[in-house]
Amino acid sequence: MIVDALILSVPGVAVIVGVVLAGGFTNTYRTYPNGTTVVVGNGNTHPAAVLAYILVGVVGLAYFTFFYGSERGQTLGMMAIGISVCDSATGRSIGYWRGLVRILLQDVLAFICFIPAVLNYLWPLWDPRRQCWHDKAVDSVVIEAR
Protein backbone atom coordinates (compact mmCIF):
# COMPACT_ATOMS: atom_id res chain seq x y z
CA MET A 1 0.00 0.00 0.00
CA ILE A 2 2.89 2.32 0.66
CA VAL A 3 3.96 1.91 -2.96
CA ASP A 4 0.42 2.70 -4.11
CA ALA A 5 0.37 5.82 -2.04
CA LEU A 6 3.76 6.87 -3.34
CA ILE A 7 2.37 6.71 -6.86
CA LEU A 8 -0.76 8.56 -5.80
CA SER A 9 1.41 11.28 -4.32
CA VAL A 10 3.19 11.92 -7.63
CA PRO A 11 1.19 15.09 -8.33
CA GLY A 12 1.92 16.23 -4.78
CA VAL A 13 5.62 15.68 -5.26
CA ALA A 14 5.35 17.58 -8.55
CA VAL A 15 3.91 20.53 -6.62
CA ILE A 16 6.78 20.50 -4.17
CA VAL A 17 9.39 20.24 -6.89
CA GLY A 18 7.74 23.10 -8.75
CA VAL A 19 7.64 25.26 -5.66
CA VAL A 20 11.25 24.51 -4.76
CA LEU A 21 12.38 25.21 -8.32
CA ALA A 22 10.49 28.48 -8.34
CA GLY A 23 12.37 29.72 -5.27
CA GLY A 24 12.18 33.24 -4.00
CA PHE A 25 9.36 32.60 -1.54
CA THR A 26 9.10 35.10 1.23
CA ASN A 27 6.69 34.17 3.95
CA THR A 28 4.49 36.86 5.39
CA TYR A 29 3.33 36.48 8.95
CA ARG A 30 0.49 37.66 11.11
CA THR A 31 1.08 38.03 14.82
CA TYR A 32 -1.97 37.61 17.02
CA PRO A 33 -2.55 39.56 20.25
CA ASN A 34 -1.32 36.64 22.37
CA GLY A 35 1.94 36.49 20.47
CA THR A 36 1.12 33.54 18.21
CA THR A 37 2.70 34.05 14.81
CA VAL A 38 1.45 32.18 11.78
CA VAL A 39 2.21 32.20 8.08
CA VAL A 40 -0.58 33.91 6.17
CA GLY A 41 1.06 34.28 2.79
CA ASN A 42 4.20 33.15 1.09
CA GLY A 43 5.18 35.51 -1.63
CA ASN A 44 3.02 33.75 -4.13
CA THR A 45 2.82 36.93 -6.18
CA HIS A 46 6.47 36.35 -7.07
CA PRO A 47 6.43 35.67 -10.87
CA ALA A 48 8.41 32.43 -10.48
CA ALA A 49 6.01 31.23 -7.81
CA VAL A 50 2.95 32.13 -9.87
CA LEU A 51 4.46 30.25 -12.80
CA ALA A 52 5.16 27.22 -10.57
CA TYR A 53 1.59 27.17 -9.26
CA ILE A 54 0.19 27.42 -12.78
CA LEU A 55 2.57 24.72 -14.06
CA VAL A 56 1.90 22.21 -11.31
CA GLY A 57 -1.80 23.01 -11.42
CA VAL A 58 -1.93 22.30 -15.13
CA VAL A 59 0.21 19.16 -14.78
CA GLY A 60 -2.02 17.85 -11.98
CA LEU A 61 -5.22 18.59 -13.88
CA ALA A 62 -3.84 17.01 -17.06
CA TYR A 63 -2.66 13.93 -15.15
CA PHE A 64 -6.00 13.22 -13.52
CA THR A 65 -8.11 14.24 -16.52
CA PHE A 66 -6.13 11.92 -18.77
CA PHE A 67 -6.29 8.90 -16.48
CA TYR A 68 -9.86 9.39 -15.18
CA GLY A 69 -11.07 9.86 -18.75
CA SER A 70 -9.03 7.03 -20.23
CA GLU A 71 -10.67 3.78 -21.30
CA ARG A 72 -9.43 2.07 -18.11
CA GLY A 73 -10.48 4.92 -15.84
CA GLN A 74 -7.45 4.43 -13.61
CA THR A 75 -4.65 6.69 -12.45
CA LEU A 76 -1.33 4.92 -11.86
CA GLY A 77 -2.14 4.66 -8.16
CA MET A 78 -5.60 3.28 -8.87
CA MET A 79 -4.02 0.64 -11.12
CA ALA A 80 -1.77 -0.39 -8.25
CA ILE A 81 -4.70 -0.63 -5.82
CA GLY A 82 -7.00 -2.26 -8.36
CA ILE A 83 -9.79 0.30 -8.52
CA SER A 84 -11.15 2.33 -11.40
CA VAL A 85 -13.70 5.05 -12.06
CA CYS A 86 -16.56 4.49 -14.49
CA ASP A 87 -20.04 5.68 -15.44
CA SER A 88 -22.44 4.83 -12.61
CA ALA A 89 -25.05 3.33 -14.95
CA THR A 90 -23.16 1.71 -17.79
CA GLY A 91 -19.79 0.91 -16.23
CA ARG A 92 -18.07 2.48 -19.22
CA SER A 93 -15.37 5.15 -19.32
CA ILE A 94 -16.48 8.59 -18.15
CA GLY A 95 -14.46 10.35 -20.87
CA TYR A 96 -12.11 13.30 -20.61
CA TRP A 97 -14.64 16.10 -19.99
CA ARG A 98 -16.24 14.36 -17.03
CA GLY A 99 -12.76 13.38 -15.88
CA LEU A 100 -11.77 17.04 -15.94
CA VAL A 101 -14.85 18.12 -13.96
CA ARG A 102 -14.23 15.29 -11.46
CA ILE A 103 -10.71 16.54 -10.63
CA LEU A 104 -11.65 20.24 -10.87
CA LEU A 105 -14.34 19.80 -8.22
CA GLN A 106 -11.83 18.17 -5.86
CA ASP A 107 -9.36 21.01 -6.43
CA VAL A 108 -11.98 23.71 -5.97
CA LEU A 109 -13.20 22.15 -2.70
CA ALA A 110 -9.64 21.88 -1.39
CA PHE A 111 -9.01 25.49 -2.32
CA ILE A 112 -12.18 26.91 -0.77
CA CYS A 113 -11.95 25.23 2.61
CA PHE A 114 -10.46 22.16 4.25
CA ILE A 115 -13.66 21.06 5.99
CA PRO A 116 -15.86 20.36 2.93
CA ALA A 117 -12.83 18.88 1.16
CA VAL A 118 -12.27 16.37 3.96
CA LEU A 119 -16.00 15.64 4.24
CA ASN A 120 -16.12 14.99 0.49
CA TYR A 121 -13.39 12.35 0.72
CA LEU A 122 -15.03 10.69 3.74
CA TRP A 123 -18.48 10.69 2.13
CA PRO A 124 -18.20 7.17 0.56
CA LEU A 125 -18.16 5.77 4.12
CA TRP A 126 -21.81 6.73 4.50
CA ASP A 127 -22.98 6.67 0.90
CA PRO A 128 -24.82 3.56 -0.32
CA ARG A 129 -22.94 3.63 -3.62
CA ARG A 130 -19.69 4.82 -2.03
CA GLN A 131 -19.63 8.03 -4.02
CA CYS A 132 -17.86 11.26 -3.21
CA TRP A 133 -19.63 14.48 -4.16
CA HIS A 134 -17.44 14.78 -7.25
CA ASP A 135 -18.66 11.30 -8.24
CA LYS A 136 -22.30 12.32 -7.85
CA ALA A 137 -21.68 15.48 -9.89
CA VAL A 138 -20.44 13.54 -12.92
CA ASP A 139 -22.43 10.32 -12.33
CA SER A 140 -19.36 8.22 -11.75
CA VAL A 141 -18.66 5.41 -9.34
CA VAL A 142 -15.43 3.80 -8.16
CA ILE A 143 -15.33 0.06 -8.75
CA GLU A 144 -12.87 -2.71 -8.03
CA ALA A 145 -11.15 -3.46 -11.32
CA ARG A 146 -10.73 -7.07 -12.25
Binding site: D4, L8, V38, V141, V142, E144
Partner: protein, 148 residues
Protein backbone atom coordinates in the same frame (compact mmCIF):
# COMPACT_ATOMS: atom_id res chain seq x y z
CA UNK B 1 -41.61 -15.73 -24.73
CA UNK B 2 -40.18 -12.89 -26.75
CA UNK B 3 -39.65 -9.78 -24.69
CA UNK B 4 -40.83 -6.47 -26.05
CA UNK B 5 -38.10 -4.21 -27.48
CA UNK B 6 -38.40 -1.88 -24.51
CA UNK B 7 -38.02 -4.75 -22.07
CA UNK B 8 -35.08 -6.07 -24.09
CA UNK B 9 -33.43 -2.69 -23.88
CA UNK B 10 -34.14 -2.45 -20.18
CA UNK B 11 -32.82 -5.94 -19.56
CA UNK B 12 -29.75 -5.13 -21.55
CA UNK B 13 -29.11 -2.08 -19.37
CA UNK B 14 -30.15 -3.79 -16.19
CA UNK B 15 -30.38 -7.21 -14.62
CA UNK B 16 -33.47 -9.27 -14.03
CA UNK B 17 -33.52 -10.46 -10.47
CA UNK B 18 -36.58 -11.88 -8.70
CA UNK B 19 -38.81 -10.66 -11.49
CA UNK B 20 -37.72 -7.07 -10.97
CA UNK B 21 -35.33 -5.07 -13.04
CA UNK B 22 -32.33 -4.12 -11.00
CA UNK B 23 -30.42 -1.03 -11.99
CA UNK B 24 -27.42 -1.77 -14.17
CA UNK B 25 -25.11 -0.24 -11.59
CA UNK B 26 -26.02 -3.04 -9.22
CA UNK B 27 -23.84 -5.28 -11.36
CA UNK B 28 -20.90 -2.96 -10.98
CA UNK B 29 -18.40 -4.18 -8.46
CA UNK B 30 -18.47 -1.03 -6.35
CA UNK B 31 -15.31 -0.77 -4.26
CA UNK B 32 -15.39 -2.06 -0.69
CA UNK B 33 -15.07 0.59 2.04
CA UNK B 34 -11.87 -0.99 3.37
CA UNK B 35 -10.20 -0.48 -0.02
CA UNK B 36 -11.00 3.22 -0.01
CA UNK B 37 -10.04 3.68 3.63
CA UNK B 38 -6.68 1.96 3.19
CA UNK B 39 -5.95 3.97 0.03
CA UNK B 40 -6.86 7.22 1.82
CA UNK B 41 -4.80 6.42 4.91
CA UNK B 42 -1.69 5.40 3.01
CA UNK B 43 -1.95 8.40 0.69
CA UNK B 44 -2.19 10.76 3.64
CA UNK B 45 0.79 9.15 5.38
CA UNK B 46 3.07 9.16 2.36
CA UNK B 47 2.14 12.66 1.19
CA UNK B 48 2.68 13.87 4.76
CA UNK B 49 6.03 12.08 5.00
CA UNK B 50 7.19 13.66 1.75
CA UNK B 51 5.87 17.10 2.69
CA UNK B 52 7.43 17.01 6.13
CA UNK B 53 10.87 16.50 4.68
CA UNK B 54 10.80 18.90 1.76
CA UNK B 55 8.53 21.49 3.32
CA UNK B 56 9.52 24.95 2.21
CA UNK B 57 6.80 26.94 3.89
CA UNK B 58 5.24 27.49 0.50
CA UNK B 59 1.69 26.55 -0.28
CA UNK B 60 -1.69 28.05 -0.88
CA UNK B 61 -2.79 29.69 2.37
CA UNK B 62 -6.19 28.93 3.85
CA UNK B 63 -8.65 31.45 2.34
CA UNK B 64 -10.83 31.47 5.47
CA UNK B 65 -8.01 32.41 7.82
CA UNK B 66 -6.39 34.76 5.32
CA UNK B 67 -9.64 36.69 4.81
CA UNK B 68 -11.08 36.64 8.33
CA UNK B 69 -8.14 35.75 10.57
CA UNK B 70 -10.37 33.19 12.28
CA UNK B 71 -9.11 29.58 12.42
CA UNK B 72 -11.38 26.61 11.72
CA UNK B 73 -11.33 23.35 13.78
CA UNK B 74 -8.85 21.82 11.34
CA UNK B 75 -6.44 24.75 11.58
CA UNK B 76 -2.85 23.76 12.32
CA UNK B 77 -3.31 20.14 11.28
CA UNK B 78 -0.84 20.37 8.38
CA UNK B 79 1.76 21.94 10.67
CA UNK B 80 0.98 19.40 13.37
CA UNK B 81 1.39 16.38 11.09
CA UNK B 82 4.60 17.82 9.67
CA UNK B 83 6.07 18.47 13.12
CA UNK B 84 5.02 15.02 14.37
CA UNK B 85 6.73 13.32 11.43
CA UNK B 86 9.86 15.35 12.21
CA UNK B 87 9.48 13.91 15.73
CA UNK B 88 8.75 17.31 17.30
CA UNK B 89 5.76 15.99 19.21
CA UNK B 90 5.48 18.97 21.55
CA UNK B 91 5.34 21.41 18.66
CA UNK B 92 2.88 19.13 16.89
CA UNK B 93 0.54 19.16 19.91
CA UNK B 94 0.88 22.91 20.29
CA UNK B 95 -0.17 23.44 16.65
CA UNK B 96 -3.12 21.06 16.75
CA UNK B 97 -3.83 17.95 18.86
CA UNK B 98 -6.25 16.97 16.08
CA UNK B 99 -3.27 16.61 13.75
CA UNK B 100 -1.88 13.87 16.00
CA UNK B 101 -5.28 12.16 16.10
CA UNK B 102 -5.40 12.30 12.29
CA UNK B 103 -1.96 10.75 12.03
CA UNK B 104 -2.94 7.87 14.33
CA UNK B 105 -6.21 7.39 12.42
CA UNK B 106 -4.30 7.27 9.12
CA UNK B 107 -1.95 4.61 10.50
CA UNK B 108 -4.92 2.55 11.73
CA UNK B 109 -6.57 3.02 8.30
CA UNK B 110 -3.58 1.35 6.65
CA UNK B 111 -3.15 -1.50 9.13
CA UNK B 112 -6.77 -2.12 10.17
CA UNK B 113 -9.09 -0.40 7.66
CA UNK B 114 -12.04 -2.48 8.84
CA UNK B 115 -11.77 -0.87 12.28
CA UNK B 116 -12.11 2.62 10.75
CA UNK B 117 -15.12 1.51 8.70
CA UNK B 118 -16.76 -0.01 11.80
CA UNK B 119 -16.32 3.18 13.80
CA UNK B 120 -17.33 5.48 10.94
CA UNK B 121 -20.56 3.59 10.33
CA UNK B 122 -21.52 3.22 13.99
CA UNK B 123 -22.86 5.80 16.43
CA UNK B 124 -19.25 6.33 17.58
CA UNK B 125 -18.80 8.56 14.54
CA UNK B 126 -20.74 11.19 16.52
CA UNK B 127 -17.66 11.47 18.74
CA UNK B 128 -16.25 13.59 15.91
CA UNK B 129 -18.58 16.43 16.91
CA UNK B 130 -17.13 17.00 20.41
CA UNK B 131 -13.66 16.25 19.05
CA UNK B 132 -14.00 19.03 16.45
CA UNK B 133 -15.56 21.34 19.05
CA UNK B 134 -12.61 20.86 21.41
CA UNK B 135 -10.20 21.31 18.52
CA UNK B 136 -11.92 24.55 17.52
CA UNK B 137 -11.78 25.85 21.08
CA UNK B 138 -8.09 24.92 21.16
CA UNK B 139 -7.40 26.82 17.92
CA UNK B 140 -9.48 29.84 18.93
CA UNK B 141 -7.46 29.94 22.15
CA UNK B 142 -4.18 29.53 20.23
CA UNK B 143 -5.03 32.51 18.05
CA UNK B 144 -6.15 34.63 20.99
CA UNK B 145 -9.89 34.65 20.27
CA UNK B 146 -10.77 32.60 23.31
CA UNK B 147 -9.39 33.28 26.76
CA UNK B 148 -9.55 30.46 29.26
Amino acid sequence: MIASPSLQRATHAGLRRGGALVEAAARLDIHRPVVGVRAGGSTLLVVAAVLSHVFTGAGIPCPLRTLTGVPCPLCGSTTSVRDALQLHLGAAFAASPLGLVTLVAAAVAVVRPAAIVRVATSRWVLALVPLLAVSWAFELHRFGFLHL
